[in-house]
Each structure stands twice: as C-alpha cells, then as structure tokens.
Symmetry: C2
Subunit: 265 residues, 2 copies
C-alpha cells in the first residue's frame, strides 16, 4: 500500500490522533496508541512541533499547531463544516436513495448549505440557497425545537392547507420533535413533499445545524420512523466529528467503516 513513506505514515498517524482527539493527548498516550518506540515518537513529535504542525500546551499535552490555526483563520468555517459533513451526507444518500440536506440558521431564516441529490428521478430538487419558511420544513422545525432559531410570530405563512396553522400548534409539535429526536414534515410546504430531519450539535453542545432528507411522501411515509432513527444516529455521528461530547448514540446495527477519516490504516 505505502512504499518508502514509513516515517511520514507514522508522523501522519500521530497528527491524526492529536487533531481528532477529544482531549489533547499526552506523550505516553500517543506512544501507547501507536505502539511506536518512545524514542521514535519523541523524535517525530518534536519534528512536527518544529514545523508548527503540533504544539505542546502547559501540561505537555499535544494540540494541533499554528499551521492548523492559520488554515482555520483563512478559510470559511461554513466551508469546513460542509466538508466535514459531506461523507456523512454521502453515506445517507447511498443508504436511503433520497435527497439529503444540511442547513444552518441565518438570522431568523434557515439556509441550506449542502445537498446530496436523490438517486431517484422523482426527488427533491436542489435547495441550496433557497429560502423556505422554517415552520414548513423538517430542518426548520429542528432548529426551532432546539433554540437554534427564534420562534416566529403568529400570522404563519401557509403554503398548503396541511401547514401548521399557528405558533401554539407549532410549539406542541416542537415538544414532540424534542421527544422523538427528529422532526417530520408531510405536505406542509408543498403537496406530496415530505421530510425528516435531526439536530447537529457543535463542539459547545449547541444545536447549530440540522441534517435531513426529503422526498415524495409515498416513499418517506412508510419508513418515517426508521429514517428518523437513522438521521438521529447519523446526526449524532456528525456532531461527534465536530467535537460534541453528547453521548454518542450507542450501537447502530449497520455501521459502515471507512467514512470517518480518523486514524488511517
């Protein structure tokens, strides 16, 4: 697989461990996890520190270095978020065949920031950038339910006659969303269009995004519960990738390998 790059492989493995760690790992942690000789680890880590790829905090633990900060400072955080979310979305797309959406709150609106298209011919079209009333979309309901978006005022827009009619009813539904862990819409934005969405938590534990799928109600309805649970699990996984310590949902039956970009082979 790799040829003539042993030392770089080792260095990259160490880097990866540090970058993806929840707590800055100590020298010994890294030695244990990699199985490297202490001398080798020391040499490599010092080289990485010399090159600003790592730095040691006051306790001597290793943290990502100035080079990562420099990257973060000159790149759009939304872009980084999307790139982190893409593998999860891609897998959801493969698994369900439906359109997958990722959205963040912006002011009092919801904006789609990424999408993976349906593999069906009949599927939700590309929504990125399109403005929809949050109370008509599963993504928006998730945001409302977790205080990622301020609740709207009462004359609610009603694009269809299934749209939730007033803030009082909306609040009742939001309670259900919190209880189930996911939100649904069914023909509330457009005749025949259904959606399911779950919250994404950032490092601080706050819900700052929602991950959802959408498609025709006849396909989504029958498996709404399964899709909801699937989304909850995958959102939790994404949250974890973003550093949230929310208890990772336990064991998902079919958990795919190779999607998390962690400790390399």
């Amino acid at each position: 697989m790799s040829n003539g790059t042993q030392s770089i492989d080792r260095a990259a493995e160490l880097l990866s461990l540090v970058v993806h760690a929840d707590e800055p790992p100590a020298f010994s942690d890294l030695v244990d996890e990699t199985g490297l000789a202490r001398s080798t680890a020391s040499r490599v880590l010092n080289a990485l520190e010399r090159h600003h790829l790592l730095e040691r905090d006051n306790d001597g633990a290793f943290r990502p270095g100035p080079m990562f900060a420099a990257y973060a400072a000159r790149h759009d955080p939304i872009d980084a978020f999307v790139r982190t979310a893409k593998p999860v979305m891609a897998w959801l797309g493969e698994r369900t065949g439906e359109t997958v959406n990722l959205a963040v709150p912006h002011g009092s609106a919801v904006v789609q920031v990424a999408q993976v298209d349906s593999t069906y011919l009949l599927g939700a079209v590309n929504w990125v950038g399109v403005d929809v009333p949050p109370h008509c979309s599963a993504l928006g309901k998730v945001m409302y339910a977790h205080d990622a978006l301020p609740l709207p005022d009462d004359p609610l827009e009603r694009p269809t006659d299934r749209t939730v009619a007033d803030v009082a009813s909306l609040k009742r539904e939001l309670a259900r969303v919190r209880r189930l862990g996911y939100a649904e819409t069914n023909g509330e934005l457009e005749e025949g269009l259904a959606g399911v969405a779950a919250p994404v938590r950032f490092r601080d534990g706050q819900v700052r995004a929602a991950l959802g799928i959408s498609g025709p109600d006849f396909r989504l309805d029958e498996s709404a519960k399964d899709l909801g649970d699937l989304l909850v699990a995958e959102s939790a996984r994404l949250s974890h990738l973003l550093g949230s310590r929310q208890p990772q949902l336990s064991n998902q039956a079919t958990h795919q390998p190779g999607t998390t970009q962690a400790t390399s082979a």
Copy 2:
C-alpha cells in the same frame, strides 16, 4: 538542528507551502520551490494525500485536506484568528512597549478579542470583553471608517469633553482615517488615554478586525505618526497571513524574521 527526520521535514515543508499558498500549487510548483527530486515529491505528496493532510483538486493542484477542514470545523474561528494574530501582536508589544489590542465588530459594538500588555507600569489595562463606545476608540473608528460597523445615531455618548461630538464630525474624521490608513484617539475616552489603530482585512478583502495600541498620551503623542505607520504595516502583514491579497506594504526598514510561520528552516 534536526536529526533523523529528513523525510518528515520535507513532508512538513510541502504541507506548509500548500497551506500558506495563495493559490493551490501544482505538483511542479512544489518540486521547483522545494528543489526535491520529482520522484521524492511524488511519493511524499501521495503519502500526505493518503493521510488526508492534502487533497488534489480537479486540476491536480494541491489543497489542504480533510484533516484541516476537520480541525476548522471543530474550533472557534475567532480563536484561530487570535492565534494567528498573536505573534504579530507580541512583536508590536516588544517593539513599542505599549499595550496592543485586537478587536472585532460584534453587532454594533466593538469587542476586544486579544491583548498583549504594556511593558510599562503605567499602561492600558486589560480590555478583553469590556464594552467601549466605538467612536471614542481608535479601534472603533477604524471599523466605522471601513464599513466594518454601522455608523451610530446622533446623540453620541461623550465620556470626556474631547470626545467627538456628533456624527457629522465623526464622518469628517473617518475620511481622515481612510486617508492616513490609521485612526487615533486622544483623551476621547478617558483623560490622558491615547490610542492608534489600523484595519485588518480578511481573505475576502473586507475589514473585519482592527489592530491597535493604547497608552498614556504623553508617550503616544510624540510618536503618533510613526506608530500609525508601524500599525499599518503590521496590520497589512496580519491581513496577508489571513490570506488577503491587498498589496503588502512594501519594505519596512526593520522587518523581523521568524515571526511568520511559513516555510520553515
């Protein structure tokens, strides 16, 4: 200096070139800049790609990989910004001996996000988090002057009798700020307190932060022009670190080495 880490040094040099580049460099660019053998560069770059430290875009050019995105997605962008700015601020602190401030706009207010303390006993105290009226501070004036902050309405707060009295006068001063490149305050916030500040541009070219120094007027007044020019130069350097392409101010007489964390030794 380095022992037994030749290949890691080379890998890190390549990484650094890619991360700090303005445009994603092509394979040949990297070969030329590093002077490595093409075979070696190829091997190393492929290893870095395999480990998600780099990725190749559609043109085959190299960009920072998912590992950088993962870091950026799980860290506060402000924090990354501050960490990038710290070396510049530290040098300004050493050079001038005065308190150095870094601020960003937040709503219609200015918040200090980092500070390096004066080496004098009499100096500005720590302002991080403290709210001051923008029109009384050099940092705020810089923001107003470059549309980083919406102009205030007319009954302006007047903490001292030297405070600029109304929006009309403020506008006149802002024109001067744009012309000079830096802003000053002199006893406008507090008797005897003076400050100088210059704009920091982000990758998109917008002013989104200000870098300033503050201290007693008797020390700052006499060298205001020099300090202003110094700040303009250093702010430009910081802007450049953040990826702004604004023409870097040409040759600053005493330019220190070792502060930019670029292409390692």
